[in-house]
Each structure stands twice: as C-alpha cells, then as structure tokens.
C-alpha cells in the first residue's frame, strides 16, 4: 500500500540555521533517503521551496482567482514529501518516524486512495 508522508516544519527555523546545521540536516536527509531506497520503501520524494514562493488558486463562479501564499497561517508549513510503499500503517509509521524533520516538526501520514 502507498502512503504519502507530508513533512510539516517551521520553515523560519530552517532559514535561521547556520551553514553547518543546514549541511548536517541535508546529510541526515540523504542518509534517510538512501536507507528507504535500500529497504524498498521509497517511491518518490521532493523538497518544496518556502511558502513565500507559493500561490493559491481557486475558481469561483467560473472565475480564476490567484492569491499569494498558502491558504492558512500556521506554525508549521508543508516543506516536502515522501511517497512510500509500506506493508501497513505500522510499517509506514516506522518509516515516517525516521524522517529527519520528525524531530522538530511533524509528519502527516496519509494512505493513497486507489480507485476502481
């Protein structure tokens, strides 16, 4: 079964990191990604640019409206994701708990809907 692990963290804390802290974080992520590739869990994963690059699009009464930024102000922002293949939710939780940002932010684990 596929699960999407959505990584939420305080992006301003990321911006305040020293060069060394930033590099250590990247190294943790590389090691984690390698690990889940070896274990067969990895399907896909990307980091996102910060929310100040985000646009929100809606269509109301046929009219497109585009606004700046994410929908709601929250303490933690979506910063990236992994799509994983896991045996069940316990397996997915084990993987999610090893995502480096789980230590500072939070990971939302959602099963992927299969149609048909």
């Amino acid at each position: 079964m596929k699960y999407l692990c959505l990584i939420y963290d305080d992006e301003s804390a990321g911006a305040r990191m020293t060069k060394e802290q930033g590099e250590a974080m990247m190294a943790d992520y590389f090691a984690f990604t390698d690990g889940i590739k070896k274990s067969g869990h990895y399907v896909a994963g990307e980091a996102l640019k910060p929310t100040n690059t985000a646009s929100t699009v809606r269509v109301r009464q046929g009219k497109v409206s585009t606004t700046d930024g994410p929908f709601a102000e929250t303490k933690e922002q979506l910063g990236g994701y992994y799509l994983i293949e896991a045996k069940d939710l316990n397996d997915a939780i084990q993987v999610a708990s090893r995502i480096p940002s789980a230590k500072s932010g939070s990971i939302e684990v959602r099963p992927i809907e299969v149609f048909g």
Binding site: K87, D88, L89, N90, D91, I93, P111
Partner: protein, 434 residues
C-alpha cells in the same frame, strides 16, 4: 451431551425440549465466555471487523440450530470459528453475483489458513492481544479507542457504552464506524507490536483501560459519583491483559484499579454524598481486593522497572494498609510521590505530592507547594487543585481564602455530588466567618 435425540420434527416431545433448553443454556454460557475469543480469531481470518461480527453471529445461530440435536461439540470454540469462517465464505460467494471482487476475496480467505491450525489455544490468545492492540492503536482518536475496545474486546452494546460515557448511542455508533473505517482504509495491521514498539504501544493500551476505570470510579459528569459497571469492565480488561502480557506496568495498573476500587463502598454516604479518604469508614473497604492489589504491587515492584501505574498503586497500597489517616505512613507516601515526579512528572502529581507533604510536614508546607504550581499558571482550571488549597487554608484558619478557593472549585466541577460536597464545606465556613 447425548445425541440420541431425533431431528427438529420431534420438537413437540417434552424430553427433547429439555435437551433443547440445556443446549441453549450452554450456548448462552459459551457466548458469554468465548464470543470475544471467537470474534478475535475471525477478524484475523476474515480481515475485517464487520464481516467477522456477522460471521460470529451466523456461527452462534448455526449452533442454536444444530447443537440441541447433535450435542455440543468437544471443542465448541473451534467449531464456532470454523463455522463462522465457512458462513463468511458462503456470504461472499453469494454476494459475488453482484460484486465480482467478492469471489476473489472468498477464494483468498479459503486458501489462506488451514482451519485446523487456526484454532489452537496459543493462536487464540494471540488473537485477543491483536484485537486489543488494534482497538487501542495510537492512530485512532482517544475516544474511538475507548469505544472500540469496550465494543469489540469487552463485547458491550453500543447503548451501554453510550450510557457509561454520557453520549448518545448514534454518536457512539458513528465513532465506532469511523474507527473501523480508518483501520480498513489506512490499513492498521492486526498484530501484536514488535518488542521495540511494545513499550509505547502498551502505554496506549494501559491508558485506555485506566480511562475506562476512571470514568466508572470518578465519573466526569452526571448525578452520581461512580458507575461501578464501567470500573468492573476495566478491571476485567486489566486481568485479561496480565494473563496475555504480564508486563510490570500492566500488573501495576491492575493493582491500582483494585486498590482504588476497594474503597468504593466507603467513598459515598448512603445519601450519595462524597466521603473523603480521611473520613472514610475503613471497615467498608474490600479486604479481598486490597489483598490481591497489595500482592500485585509487590509483584510489579519486584520486576524493578518502576512505572507510573506501579508507583501510584504502591501509594494506594500504603493507604490501604493504614488503620486511619493519622496512622498513615505519610513519609513513605511523600517519598513515592518524589519518585513518581521523576518518572512521570506532571502538575497533577505535583499537587498530590503537595497534599502528602502537607500531611507529613503540616498544611503550611503543602500550601507553599500548591501556590508555586498556581504561580506557574498550571492547574488554573482544575477543581481539585482549588479544593486542595481550600482544605489547607481551612486547616490553617485562613477562612476567607478557604471560601474563595472552594467557590472557585465549585464553579469548575461538572459533577453534582462533588458540587454538593463543596457547597457543604462552604456553608460550614461561611457560618464560621460571619
């Protein structure tokens, strides 16, 4: 049982009716003692809660049809599991006319497990643990865990659970449906956690049992202080858990529940009013529960991994062994709270520790500690914190302060006997003050 009775055609025969009646009674007894075990195994075999419940009811219906004539089989549980499984496969096949996917599912279930191996005793006990851990999975909401555990593990009816938790039956039923939906859709596995996951997962299970007990022991709202049936159910769950998984904290929790429950008869007056620990008639305490609780505490303590339930049980055991409040070993109790503060610190533990220190060193010392908690902004909405402060002020003769704190406590409690107790204290103090 003799199987010489003839078929259903002889139902008019009074001898046959006797056999019928006996078989029905036996089936009823087996339902009460074993239906949860049968269900737990069927959930594993069929991979779905609803399908398993339906299969279990089909199996018991089949037993009612055939046992009066054929006699109760040697291993009724095994018979019920394999009958339920066949009935489920049957239903799926019949459903396959409308939904082709069900045929594949029926085949898969039929092929997956040799029925003989599926009903060995060991397997059955594992299934009950699987059921407990699944119902108490941390990915389910706390409310859902309690509802699902009482429904599936304890076999309570939705209406009973709703009454116990002062919610409506439809709300509760919906909570259970949603939880089962999440188990299915997010694929929460039907398994006992691995050794590495066990401590965290067991905590969640113990917490569910503890919340159920507390709801029965100190109801969060409503007209009466306690709801004994709910506590009895929690104690039953606690016993089941240590049979299946004798971990120190599971033993500690059972001890804690028994020791608290032993005071039940003394906690309320015949008029339903609260009687505090220091004023309780200790001859009303249940000695049998105390003896069992103390023995369990000793067993848990000997395992040398001190957790919060074991420590609280040890505190309750010290109370249980004291003749009266003055004869209580408050030094030992304060010491146990010190350890509890290290193992599982919280403002509530700190409050209880302050109350024990007040008994050991006098009200002044306790009051200083309670005021330090308030000064930090903790427990600002916790009625017990205000009634504890009020009690110490009362003992120090600081009547105006005691009145203010009792008044605050009374506005914060949702429980009628609790409020009446506080108002009685207030009336006494106001008489003194005027």
């Amino acid at each position: 049982m003799a199987s010489d009775a003839a078929g259903p055609g002889d139902a008019g025969n009074p001898l046959n009716n006797d056999a019928d009646e006996r078989a029905r009674e036996q089936i009823g007894a087996i339902y009460r003692s074993d239906s949860r075990r049968v269900l737990a195994t069927l959930i594993r075999l069929l991979g779905d809660f609803d399908r398993a419940e339906e299969a279990m009811h089909d199996a018991f219906t089949a037993a009612l049809d055939s046992w009066p004539a054929s006699g109760v089989p040697d291993n009724p549980r095994a018979w019920l599991v394999s009958t339920g499984r066949f009935k489920a496969i049957d239903r799926l096949r019949r459903g396959a006319r409308f939904d082709a996917a069900l045929a594949g599912l029926a085949e898969q279930i039929e092929a997956s497990v040799p029925p003989a191996g599926s009903v060995e005793e060991d397997g059955l006990e594992d299934d009950r643990l699987r059921l407990i851990f699944t119902c108490c999975h941390p990915a389910l909401s706390a409310d859902a865990r309690i509802a699902l555990t009482l429904r599936e593990v304890c076999g309570l009816e939705t209406e009973e659970i709703a009454r116990a938790f002062l919610t409506s039956a439809p709300t509760l039923a919906q909570r259970i449906v949603r939880a089962k939906g999440k188990i299915r859709d997010a694929r929460i596995p039907y398994q006992v956690p691995s050794r590495t996951e066990l401590p965290e997962r067991l905590d969640t299970v113990l917490h569910v049992v503890y919340l159920v007990f507390n709801e029965g022991y100190s109801a969060s709202g409503g007209d009466s202080l306690t709801r004994p049936d709910v506590s009895a159910e929690a104690i039953r769950l606690g016993r089941l858990l240590i049979d299946l998984l004798p971990e120190p904290e599971a033993i500690g929790l059972l001890a804690l529940m028994l020791l608290h429950d032993s005071r039940r008869a003394a906690r309320t007056s015949p008029e339903g009013e609260i009687v505090l620990l220091d004023a309780q008639d200790r001859s009303l305490w249940n000695r049998q529960q105390i003896d069992e609780g103390v023995e369990l505490v000793e067993r848990a303590l000997s395992l040398r991994r001190l957790g919060p339930y074991t420590l609280q049980a040890a505190i309750a055991a010290v109370h249980a062994e004291a003749r009266d409040s003055a004869g209580t070993d408050w030094t030992q109790i304060a010491g146990l709270y010190d350890v509890l503060m290290r193992v599982d610190p919280s403002p509530v533990v700190e409050l209880n520790r302050a109350a024990a220190i007040a008994m050991r060193d006098g009200p002044e010392a306790g009051l200083t500690l309670i005021d330090a908690i308030f000064a930090r902004g903790d427990l600002a909405d916790y009625h017990f914190a205000y009634s504890a402060r009020a009690d110490l002020c009362r003992r120090l003769g600081r009547t105006a302060e005691a009145i203010a704190a009792y008044e605050r406590a009374a506005t914060l409690t949702n429980q009628a006997p609790e409020r009446r107790f506080l108002e009685r204290r207030l009336a006494e103090l106001r008489a003194l003050h005027s």
